[in-house]
């Protein structure tokens, strides 16, 4: 069922407008008590319009307005040099560095495991059920411990967060790759048999290329998850750098605008990372004759 561009864009646009409207409305509603208190202390008479303007301009609002968040982000990006600790871009860089390193490690681990599972039957029977079971365990709960243990062994900074990210993202990649490596058409396998192709040739020429679409789907899921892992990995040590630590310090000091700007920044980062993977997918697809 093909929908025209207007049919697809219009609902999203309406939804975006609705979300922003609700956001402003919520800001008024949630900030009102604090605003009324502040104006009562100031002693002046105030009208409803004054109240609404006050709720939009509070220093520590219960719910900051979209424009407050945007302004805060803008200031944080432009008022300080890039490497400065108050520049949000610096924190974004720290978090994305660990997320990307963890992602790469997770991809390597996931692909290697998948190849092993598909080719060694004992591994499949013994390991795959545990890999699936491991996902029902809240791995993020172990994050603090991993950070502490690795810290004791002398690994601080990027590595513990990358390890958490790696653990989180290897599962969708393993599962996706196994599915992809096994998705081979029976006829194509027979064809390779008639050529007396070796197991290595079948792997490189048939299984791996068939698995690529499945791999990219899992890569998109994995990169989003590894970002979550990197952020959560910053929480235990009360770290100084990274989007997670900005979230944490914002919550400790009641700096709501800081919390929201860190949250929006991580959302943007996530969307950008997924888009990059999507772009890579398109490039690979064009080279391997994918149906546009």
């Amino acid at each position: 069922m093909t929908t025209s561009l207007s049919q697809r864009v219009l609902p999203v646009a309406v939804m975006a407008v609705a979300v922003i409207a609700v956001w402003y409305g919520g800001a008024v509603w949630l900030n009102a008590p604090q605003a009324m208190e502040a104006m009562a202390r100031a002693g002046k008479n105030w009208s409803t319009a004054d109240l609404v303007m006050q709720t939009f301009a509070m220093k520590r609002p219960v719910l900051p307005t979209p424009d407050q968040v945007v302004v805060e982000i803008y200031h944080s990006l432009t008022d300080y040099p890039i490497g400065h600790i108050r520049n949000l871009l610096y924190h974004t860089g720290v978090t994305s560095a660990s997320a990307l390193v963890g992602f790469v490690m997770g991809v390597v681990l996931g692909v290697v495991l998948a190849i092993g599972i598909v080719h060694v039957r004992t591994l499949e029977a013994s390991l795959l059920p545990w890999i699936i079971a491991s996902q029902t365990i809240p791995i993020l709960a172990i994050a603090p411990m991993i950070v502490v243990i690795l810290g004791n062994l002398g690994f601080t900074g990027l590595l513990p967060k990358a390890v958490i990210s790696m653990y989180l993202c290897f599962f969708p990649i393993t599962v996706g790759m196994v599915k992809g490596l096994r998705s081979v058409d029976g006829m194509a396998q027979d064809l390779m048999r008639t050529y007396n192709a070796s197991a290595r040739q079948v792997f490189w020429m048939l299984r791996l290329p068939s698995a690529v679409p499945y791999l990219f789907t899992s890569l998109k899921v994995a990169i989003a998850i590894s970002l979550v892992g990197a952020i959560v990995g910053e929480l235990p040590t009360g770290g100084q750098a990274g989007l997670g630590s900005r979230l944490l310090s914002g919550s400790y000091y009641g700096q709501t605008v800081q919390i929201w700007s860190a949250l929006v920044m991580s959302a943007v980062l996530s969307v950008v990372l997924i888009a990059v993977v999507g772009l890579a997918e398109k490039l690979v697809g064009r080279h391997t004759g994918a149906h546009p």
Partner: protein
């Protein structure tokens, strides 16, 4: 057979502990003897794979248990014989697993997976004991198990706070509201076309980040954690329900139209049953997300009880055994929830190709 299985033979000549040779200690004798006996028994007469595997496993079990006794005396590098022996034992075990894995049936797979898991736990115990790993770094499984009963009350309070309050309530609210909104969106396609991209966006961003905001709005109690769980579970349920409602084939819908069935009747008799596999998929995903959400949300602030709280504070105090105990409880909870849902899925949607046994 992998040549590594003959390592037990070689190991005999090396020290099994500080200055102790294999034949000087009864436990070592038992260990080596059991391994060799089972190896010989398995090779001497041709046996069916299952029997051969069982014989090998019996020998490995006895040898492994005996080796555990020795590990307390051994200390890392001073016991090369013991480590070589364990490697040989592992090769023997792997061979037994390979024999078992050739069989068919879910029972076999469960057996192989279960044995593999036991072997990993044993390896953990062996390495921790053998190399004298400090318990602040990595406690042995036996230590973790021992630490659980005395702290059972703490574990139970945490469990009640996190799981029974935050997770269960948040999960129910999130899934039900996601389901309800999906039904509404099904009726109003415009809404569906607007919500789905939003849902995909939300699933991409780190939702746990809203935890501090929820704490600000709902306070430190379980309500804020439940709120995080609601937000995390709402969209996956919405997306999955919508996909499920669209899963009915046109030919089936036409049939219902020919019977003059209205919207509600078609929904109840056709579209919801067809949507069940998708619904269960969403419920299973959400069970994992709910537990993670509640625990991680507690990292951001909670009264002095809760599993996330326990983990983050006890880690800072280096009381790792209670941390591990909490993780074990979390793991069991997660697996039980997921397993219960999977069983319910099999019972309710046994007709669906993805759930049916192949062939």
């Amino acid at each position: 057979m992998n040549p590594l299985v003959f390592l037990p033979l070689v190991a005999v000549v090396l020290p099994f502990g500080a200055g102790v040779a294999a034949w000087q200690h009864p436990a070592a004798l038992v260990a080596v003897g059991a391994a060799l006996a089972s190896l010989l028994a398995a090779r001497l007469r041709p046996l069916p794979p299952l029997a051969e595997a069982l014989v090998l496993l019996a020998g490995v079990a006895v040898a492994a248990a005996a080796s555990l006794l020795l590990l307390d005396r051994a200390s890392g590098i001073a016991a090369p014989g013991l480590w070589v022996f364990l490697v040989g034992l592992a090769a023997l075990f792997w061979h037994a697993l390979t024999l078992l894995a050739q069989g068919e049936g879910a029972g076999r797979v469960a057996l192989v997976a279960g044995l593999f898991g036991l072997a990993l736990v044993y390896l953990w115990e062996a390495v921790v004991r053998g190399f004298g790993v400090p318990s602040v770094l990595l406690p042995a499984p036996s230590a973790i198990l021992a630490a659980m009963p005395p702290r059972a009350d703490v574990l139970w309070d945490d469990f009640r706070q996190t799981v029974l309050h935050a997770v269960v309530r948040g999960y129910l609210i999130g899934c039900l509201s996601g389901f309800a909104v999906a039904i509404v969106a099904d009726r109003i396609p415009f809404l569906a076309r607007g919500l789905l991209p939003l849902g995909n966006l939300v699933s991409a961003i780190p939702i746990v980040g809203i935890a501090p905001i929820m704490v600000m709005w709902f306070g430190f109690g379980w309500e804020s954690k439940a709120a995080v769980v609601v937000v995390m579970t709402f969209f996956p349920m919405l997306v999955n329900t919508l996909a499920g409602l669209q899963a009915s084939e046109k030919i089936q819908l036409d049939l219902m139209r020919s019977y003059g069935a209205g919207y509600v009747r078609t929904l109840v008799k056709l579209r919801l049953p067809n949507a069940l596999p998708f619904l269960f998929n969403g419920l299973k995903i959400n069970s994992t997300l709910a537990l993670i959400g509640a625990i991680v949300a507690e990292f951001f602030g909670t009264p002095i009880v809760g599993m996330g709280f326990r983990i983050s504070t006890e880690v800072a105090r280096m009381n790792l055994d209670i941390v591990w105990a909490t993780i074990v409880v979390a793991g069991i909870t997660g697996s039980t929830l997921y397993g219960a849902l999977a069983l319910a899925e099999r019972a309710v949607t046994g007709w669906h190709p993805s759930v049916r046994r192949r062939r």
